[in-house]
């Protein structure tokens, strides 16, 4: 397989294609008849998924840290590069995005009944933005893509959303924009410092890594970057945009938001905030605050989730809890914790995406998301119930599902260094059952007494086709996560190594031995 990929030159064009080809699909959508817009979009994104699968083989787990890398000048006088590349972390984020997108599009066929062309165009635009975020190796390029993801999502929520869509869309936009502007300031400051240090302007991440910064500067810059990412994650107490955005967004919007967009925040921490400001990241204040917020988020969000009357809002709050696990895994600054955090990211993408899909399917059938309107669905919709139960169990981290692998490793890694935080976070295991099982019971179990529920159809073939790959992945990653962990490990080690010797990194600019990139071909 990898020989074949090599023969067609896959490594040299794959990332560019995955980033920009979604835009080509927009052309197709605009040309297609209105009723076919969804099919075109699905076909195109499915094609991109197939295309992205090649990354799995062309990424050599034992090879260079950043692979499939390329670098070209974009804006010369400012030192902005068009630099793409993936490591073991970005690899899975890209795959998660390309997997989520066709499923989300497939799930919108029944839901989106107006302005289809605009909707699917925005979805593909979103895909460009997301993939771009994960493959960018230039800070400014990253920022551009980071902002690019914001716009389509804003419109998706604002146009196709529920009743309070405008409020939710604006809240989402302002929250995120506030953070990203702080980050922009941080980027420019870092750029100025790097420029005076290197004598040449650059936004290229590996070159910026060696910039010497005082601890105060690092803490401030970390604060700027961290706020942007923490909002995106979202980290307690910056999370309140999420429930609103999720509840109002159309199903595909929620799916993409939960499965991929939230990951940008945690990915940003790992890719930028940690390596760029190692002393700040390992500063006891920072880790203390982040661990505290993560733990509080886990418990708090679980509690709040448990009393939600709206199923979608409940799932939204569980996202906050899950991302809390990611945060503590990251800021434990252990290999186990970081890999666990990454596994939680992947698993959360799959399971929460699936939960949103399921809630969306329920909504399409009954036009309500209020949990108490359902009951006894396991009798009329056994397939849906099975998928729901498996997904819910993955979400609460039952062993044998991907959720467990992530949570276990994240908690273990946290406990290794911070037993107190680890122990408190582990209570999340209890509270996960506390929020998820009542919902499962009240939707699927109990008496089937509502005639409308009695007439509810089971999963259609299309819906089963959407859920099947996700359910399979949940089990597969739970039983055999080895290949994923193995590919992540070098990248994780590199990040940690960089954080650990933050002091010595100052002495060896600009090319860092840990994050090194092949020169552009």
């Amino acid at each position: 397989m990898s020989a074949f990929l090599q023969a067609v030159g896959y490594p040299s064009w794959a990332l560019h294609a995955l980033t920009w080809l979604p835009l080509a699909g927009i052309g197709g959508i605009l040309l297609a008849p209105r009723a076919r817009a969804g099919h075109v979009a699905f076909g195109w994104s499915a094609f991109l998924l197939v295309l992205s699968l090649g990354l799995w083989w062309s990424f050599d787990p034992a090879g260079e840290l950043f692979q499939l890398a390329s670098r070209a000048v974009w804006i010369e006088p400012w030192g902005v590069d068009y630099a793409l590349g993936i490591d073991g972390i970005a690899l899975f984020m890209v795959l998660l995005s390309t997997l989520t997108m066709p499923l989300a599009i497939l799930a919108s066929f029944r839901y989106i009944r107006q302005r289809e062309k605009s909707f699917y165009s925005l979805m593909l635009l979103l895909q460009t933005g997301i993939v771009g975020v994960f493959v960018s190796m230039d800070l400014l390029l990253f920022y551009v893509f980071f902002e690019l993801t914001l716009v389509p999502m804003y419109f998706i929520i604002g146009i196709w959303g529920g009743e309070r869509r405008v409020y939710a869309a604006i809240k989402f936009f302002l929250y995120t924009a506030f953070g990203s502007l702080l980050m922009l300031v941080g980027i420019l400051y870092l750029y100025a410092r790097a420029r005076s240090f290197l004598g040449a302007p650059t936004f290229f991440l590996p070159e910026l890594l060696g910039t010497p910064l005082s601890l105060t500067e690092q803490l401030l810059l970390f604060g700027a970057f961290g706020t942007a990412f923490a909002i995106k994650v979202p980290l307690f107490p910056l999370h309140t945009w999420l429930p609103d955005a999720h509840v109002e967004a159309p199903t595909p919007g929620s799916v993409v938001l939960a499965a991929v967009l939230l990951k940008i925040g945690t990915y940003g921490f790992i890719r930028f905030a940690l390596p760029l400001f190692p002393d700040a990241a390992s500063h006891s204040w920072v880790t203390g605050i982040m661990l505290t917020l993560g733990v509080v988020g886990i418990v708090y969000a679980a509690w709040v989730a448990a009393v939600q009357p709206d199923a979608k809002k409940l799932v939204a709050y569980t996202s906050v809890a899950h991302m809390g696990f990611v945060i503590i895994g990251i800021f434990a600054l252990t290999a186990t914790g970081l890999q666990g955090g990454l596994m939680v990211m992947i698993s959360h993408g799959i399971s929460t995406g699936a939960l949103f899909l399921l809630v969306g399917m329920l909504y399409e059938r009954r036009h309500t998301r209020t949990i108490s309107d359902f009951g006894g669905l396991a009798r009329v919709a056994p397939l849906l119930a099975t998928a729901f139960v498996i997904t819910a169990l993955t979400s609460i981290g039952l062993p044998g599902t991907s959720g467990f692998v992530g949570e276990f490793l994240a908690l273990l890694g946290t406990f290794e260094r911070h037993p107190g935080a680890g122990a408190l976070a582990t209570t999340g295991v209890i509270f996960a059952a506390y929020y998820m099982l009542p919902m499962v019971q009240r939707i699927l179990f109990n008496r089937l007494d509502d005639p409308e529920n009695r007439a509810m159809p089971d999963l259609s073939r299309r819906e089963a086709g959407i859920l099947a790959p996700l359910v399979l992945l949940m089990i597969l990653l739970g039983v055999y996560p080895g290949p994923v962990l193995e590919r992540m490990e070098p990248a994780v080690e590199a990040v940690l190594e960089h954080v650990d010797d933050g002091g010595s990194a100052l002495a060896s600019p600009p090319a860092d031995r840990a994050l090194r990139v092949e020169p552009a071909p």
Partner: protein, 718 residues
């Protein structure tokens, strides 16, 4: 489990010392795979059946209908469900025979694949075959097969027949993972997996809200225990860098001194896990509710196997508990308290399954006492005999309920088929059930020569034998509690038998005509288990007892076999305990040897049985709808289960729910969102203030412009 995955690691080749032949496990993976395949097959059938049912439901056909399909969906699970477990039993037995044929000191480990490996942490998917896991395998698959067989009859009429076997097979799979996994993480997989199956099976009739609630409660309470288990694993890894049994047990004695606080913490955390799974005080509350599931499920999961996982955990981690005397003492104390506490509740319950449930909790308490006293073999021994007689009791109760249900159903009487006040004199209608349950009652009461006599006696003895050295007073008190609890066991079991099978007949003649003995698929398991309940105890008789009257003065085929069999597993823990806490004393706290106290215990139990029969014999019992709960006093408190559920609801559940609501309404919506929206409002307010300047009058703008010009000019010039 791919072919390449079967490559055995170096540790797998355990060569018996002295060049003896090595133990070569026979397809251990297949033991697990068989129930898993059964699960998959039954799962597909269950989904097909459920979809058919759903389609009929939607189209409005309330009736059963679709007979041919029904038959197919029935026939396959009947073979697939019990068959897969029976085959697994055969394989386990073959492995047992192989192991028995060689001298094996070190566990044999089969590595399949690396499950989680990050940085310094590795968790392998590997199976450990040693004496303990093999004997647990035999119990699980053996009792499991019988209960599967029983279920064929019991669940025949249920529309969810295939789903039932699907869950049950999955349970057996996870239970086997639990006992065969070669490390704590894999045990945790089984641990939570069986919890899941328990959840699904308790809520099997999920349309009944109470049953679904019971399943949920079981899962959540279990998760509290799992929290402790997880932290125990984390702590082990933090200090030992290993989580597989071989690594942990090799490193622990070196890393921890006797009584080291870390190992004490580990032991207490693992104990928390065990408490949750094995329904000990204070986390026992889920088990009585778990009786909402089908009765064979109660027999298999909530009596014979899953709930004993806690005992297995402590026995397995014996090295750690031996290093932590406080942890052991805590386990023993909790066990004793539980044994007595739930026995008192069982005295006043009328639901036949509730009595058995509290009895199970109580017996599990005995097992905890055993492993807490360091008598791991005694704990496993009681686990095994308990699996026999308690499974038998539950299946018997199932047969009773099944018959009563049919009888009441046939006469359309709205009575509770599980309430013993509605039964009475059933021995005339269900003789086979009566005999087998009677056997089990004698066994659980500890009457010689039934299995329970030997296992319970050993527990009481070892608890008493710890009443020297560390925690002497504590163990002496526990010993006394154990004796009392043993007597109470005899009392409540006799009460159950009398209310159910003897006394006046409370149901009418029309019901009586509809009562018949169960089909052979249900009676055969009863008979087999009855035999085991009689003779199962003979495999572990201490020499002193063996040579006394109780062993027929050495003539009966009794031996100390189990003790020797498990010795390779428990030797390390025993050694540590002996070195730290000293050897067991030779006499009970009040003096006297093992034989004497065995005689005392069995005599007391027999006396309790006779006295209880006597006390209940003349009493006229009224049916449930004509009787009221006890007026007050201790009887009322026991009937209402010491109000523990109510207290938990008041102290834990409601505050948590209240706090959740507070967090949502006040913190989330008011404080945080209020701040966010407040910032928005502030900006809007500033904008409004600014808009006051905007009069719409061109002149005003011109004045402002002029002022601006003036400002700039002034700045430039001055």
């Amino acid at each position: 489990m791919t072919a390449s995955g079967f490559a055995a690691g170096p540790a797998a080749q355990a060569v018996a010392p002295g060049g003896g032949e090595a133990f070569e496990p026979l397809l251990p993976g297949l033991i697990l795979l068989l129930p898993l395949l059964g699960f998959a097959g039954n799962g597909i059938l269950a989904l097909a059946a459920a979809r058919g049912g759903a389609a009929r439901l939607r189209s409005g056909e309330a009736g059963a209908g679709g007979e041919p399909e029904r038959r197919l969906v029935h026939a396959l699970p009947t073979w697939l469900g019990p068959g897969s477990v029976a085959l697994a039993f055969v394989l386990s037995a073959l492995n047992f025979a192989r192991m028995a044929g060689v001298e094996l000191h070190d566990p044999v480990i089969r590595h399949y694949w690396s499950w989680m490996a990050t940085g310094p942490f590795t968790a392998e998917v590997a199976l450990q075959l040693d004496q303990l896991s093999v004997i647990m395998n035999l119990i699980i698959t053996g009792v499991g097969s019988l209960i599967h067989l029983f279920s064929v009859g019991y669940m025949r009429e249920d529309p969810g027949y295939a789903r039932y076997f699907c869950y049950l097979n999955l349970f057996v799979f996870f239970m086997l993972v639990l006992v065969m996994g070669a490390g704590f993480p894999l045990m945790f997989v089984g641990w939570e997996g069986v919890g899941l199956c328990s959840y699904l099976l308790i809520g099997f009739w999920f349309e009944d809200r109470e049953k679904a609630d019971a399943g949920k409660k079981a899962f959540i309470v279990n998760r509290i225990g799992d929290f402790g288990f997880l932290l125990g694993i984390f702590l082990l890894f933090r200090h030992l860098g290993a989580v597989d049994y071989v690594g942990v047990f090799a490193a622990a004695p070196e890393a921890f001194s006797y009584g080291d606080p870390v190992v004490t913490a580990v032991a207490l955390l693992l104990l928390l896990g065990a408490i949750g799974k094995s329904a000990q005080v204070p986390l026992y509350v889920w088990l009585p509710d778990a009786m909402a599931g089908p009765t064979p499920v109660s027999a298999l999961i909530h009596a014979a196997t899953m709930v004993t996982a806690g005992v297995y955990l402590i026995a397995r981690a014996g090295v750690l508990f031996a290093l932590a005397p406080v942890g052991s003492a805590a386990a023993a104390t909790i066990g004793a308290v539980t044994a007595l506490f739930s026995a008192t509740i069982a005295l006043k319950q009328y639901d036949i399954k509730k009595v058995l449930a509290y009895s199970t909790v109580s017996q599990l308490g005995f097992m905890f006492m055993a492993v807490g006293a360091g008598a791991y073999v005694a704990g496993i021994f009681h686990l095994m005999t308990h699996a026999f007689f308690k499974a038998l009791l539950f299946l018997g109760a199932g047969a009773v309920i099944h018959s009563m249900h049919h009888a009441l159903h046939a006469t359309h009487r709205e009575w509770d088929a599980q309430d013993m006040r509605n039964m009475g004199d059933l021995r005339r209608y269900l003789p086979m059930t009566w005999i087998t349950m009677g056997t089990a009652t004698l066994a659980i009461a500890g009457i010689w020569p039934f299995a329970g006599f030997f296992s319970k006696d050993e527990i009481i003895w070892y608890t008493g034998a710890r009443a020297e050295g560390e925690f002497a007073v504590l163990y002496a008190a526990l010993w006394a509690i154990a004796l009392v609890a043993a007597v109470l066991t005899a009392v409540y079991m006799t009460r159950l038998m009398v209310l159910t099978f003897h006394g006046n007949q409370r149901f009418g003649e029309s019901e009586a005509r509809n009562l018949h003995e169960e089909p052979v698929t249900m009676t055969v398991p009863l008979a087999v288990l009855a035999l085991l309940a009689v003779f199962g105890g003979w495999i572990n008789v201490p020499p002193a007892v063996h040579d006394s009257f109780f062993g027929g003065f050495g003539l009966l085929p009794m031996s100390e076999w189990l003790h020797y069999w498990l010795e390779p597993v428990t030797a390390a823990a025993d050694g540590i305990r002996a070195a730290g806490a000293g050897p067991y004393s030779e006499s009970a706290p009040l003096g006297g040897g093992e034989v004497l106290w065995a005689a005392v215990a069995t005599t007391a139990a027999a006396a309790a049985i006779l006295l209880t029969m006597r006390a209940l014999a003349g009493r006229e019992v009224r049916p449930a709808d004509e009787s009221s709960p006890p007026e007050g006093g201790l009887a009322r408190v026991l009937h209402d289960k010491w109000y523990v559920d109510e207290a938990y609801d008041r102290v834990i559940v409601r505050p948590v729910v209240g706090a959740s609501r507070f967090a949502w309404r006040w913190i989330d919506q008011f404080v945080i969102d209020g701040a966010v929206d407040g910032i928005g409002a502030l900006v809007r307010g500033l904008g409004w203030a600014g808009s006051l300047l905007q009069t719409g009058q061109v002149t005003t703008y011109a004045v402002i412009l002029a002022l601006g010009a003036l400002t700039i000019l002034g700045a430039l010039i001055l």
